[in-house]
């Protein structure tokens, strides 16, 4: 399958990229990993007249802790997350997520930023970032702006990024002590999108009760879903089997899955409940350590 012809632009700096995006408006798309965009172009579902390849812009690939945040640069590849000792040791929820995105070849190219900016409710990082309470840093002609993740995903393939803006960094508030998270995904085969998936991040207080919970749901709605009812329920409660089960039920109620080849809606709701139970259980285990 061959995409329609387009003009290929390769800026060397962010200001150059922003200027190109402004110049061409709706006719331009950013190319980072391309692992979502290029398949769409090959199917002619996306037909940008201008492709702005940002892969040669220096200084956009990094994973570092700074100022109380974990900061992930826009060109950080999924494979970089998997290989990072920092992610492996301190952010297992992010490692869980990166591991189940597509396959090794795709992970070599796919970027975390692209996974978020593409706005596909089937992508995995959105739910995890919702659970972690992340912030998105976007650069545009008017400078930098920070968007809370809860306000970032609007609808299918629609995020809060404005035309002419590039997602440059993802910031995750460094979790306090006694925090833990996990991501559980069911897929039909390796490399598939989620039939459903749940991200859970919890923090325990001094008495071992849940101080805070973040729960994100993948591919069960037009946008990734923050399971607020379940999050609110868990606050102040012990993360025992009964409470986790109740929270999982509430999370499933927030899911709005469509029936498709991956299964009927009722099945997916049931799946969310079970995956939420597993994710919360694992998150609690990791928080307790």
């Amino acid at each position: 399958m061959i995409p329609p012809a387009f003009e290929y632009l390769r800026p060397q700096t962010i200001p150059e990229a922003i200027s190109l995006l402004q110049q061409h408006g709706e006719d331009a798309k950013i190319l980072s990993g391309g692992q979502s965009l290029i398949p769409m172009m090959k199917l002619r579902l996306a037909r940008p007249a201008f492709l702005v390849d940002i892969n040669r812009i220096a200084g956009l690939a990094y994973i570092k802790e700074e100022g109380g945040f974990l900061k992930i640069g826009a060109l950080t590849r999924e494979a970089d997350l998997e290989a990072s000792p920092l992610i492996q040791s301190k952010y297992p929820i992010i490692l869980d997520t990166a591991h189940v995105i597509a396959d090794p070849q795709v992970r070599n190219m796919a970027t975390v930023a692209g996974n978020l900016a593409h706005g596909d409710p089937a992508n995995d990082h959105p739910a995890t970032m919702l659970a972690l309470g992340a912030q998105i840093v976007a650069m545009g002609a008017k400078g930098e702006r920070v968007v809370a993740i809860e306000e970032f995903f609007l609808s299918v393939f629609t995020t809060a990024l404005q035309p002419g803006e590039i997602l440059t960094e993802i910031r995750i508030p460094a979790p306090p002590a006694h925090s833990g998270g996990a991501y559980f995904k069911l897929e039909r085969k390796v490399g598939d999108f989620a039939t459903a998936a749940v991200a859970a991040q919890v923090t325990l207080d001094g008495k071992g009760l849940c101080q805070k919970a973040g729960i994100g749901l993948t591919n069960v709605g037009p946008a990734p879903i923050k399971a607020r009812k379940a999050e609110d329920f868990l606050r102040g409660k012990k993360l025992d089997a009964a409470n986790i089960a109740q929270a999982a039920q509430l999370a499933a109620e927030d899911a709005q899955p469509s029936a498709d080849l991956r299964g009927p809606a009722e099945y997916k709701k049931g799946l969310v409940k079970e995956l939420a139970r597993r994710a919360l259980t694992r998150a609690a285990e990791r928080a307790g350590k």
Partner: protein, 167 residues
């Protein structure tokens, strides 16, 4: 909009140059412009991995990249595995362990395994299966592919020891 641009890529050790449209997929560049038809197009939807090549040290699905993105890079295709008329231990492994039937997935399997063994010379079975998880095979059930990679790991280890001993 058939404007072409010149790209230069080092392919299997040789500098190659061509004028291509931006929309030319890397896999089409490899097969049709360079004439290296060892890299296969299996699904064209980024699932099967038959198009896997190694670009700048990492495996990529060449059907999901544009040739222009490879400008200035170093590309290794399956044709680049053989050295001085000698099969690469992976190729030997696939031969000895019957790691292929129709052979369509094989170039992709070889490139993914090649990248795996470069990073992890002594992979466990689980690590091998994870390493080739982006490559689908409809014939073999993967069993002999795993054995082929294990054979190659052993052979490469032997070669390394032999080189070390000769000093």
């Amino acid at each position: 909009m058939l404007k072409k641009q010149t790209i230069r890529v080092k392919v299997n050790g040789r500098e190659r140059e061509a004028d291509v449209e931006p929309r030319l997929l890397l896999v089409h560049f490899i097969r049709e412009v360079l004439g290296l038809t060892g890299t296969h197009i299996g699904c064209d939807t980024s699932h099967c991995g038959a198009c896997t090549v190694v670009l700048d040290g990492r495996t990529v699905k060449s059907c999901t990249m544009f040739a222009v993105q490879a400008e200035g890079g170093e590309l290794t295709t399956v044709e680049g595995l053989m050295k001085d008329g000698q099969l690469h231990p992976l190729q030997e492994g696939f031969k000895e362990e019957h790691g292929l039937q129709c052979g369509f997935c094989t170039p992709g399997m070889l490139m993914s395994s090649y990248a795996l063994l470069s990073k992890n010379p002594k992979p466990s079975e689980e690590q091998i299966r994870w390493g080739i998880s982006g490559n689908l095979c409809r014939c073999t059930g993967y069993q002999n592919i795993v054995k082929a990679v294990e054979y190659a790991a052993g052979k490469l280890e032997q070669q390394k020891m032999a080189q070390g001993g000769a000093r």
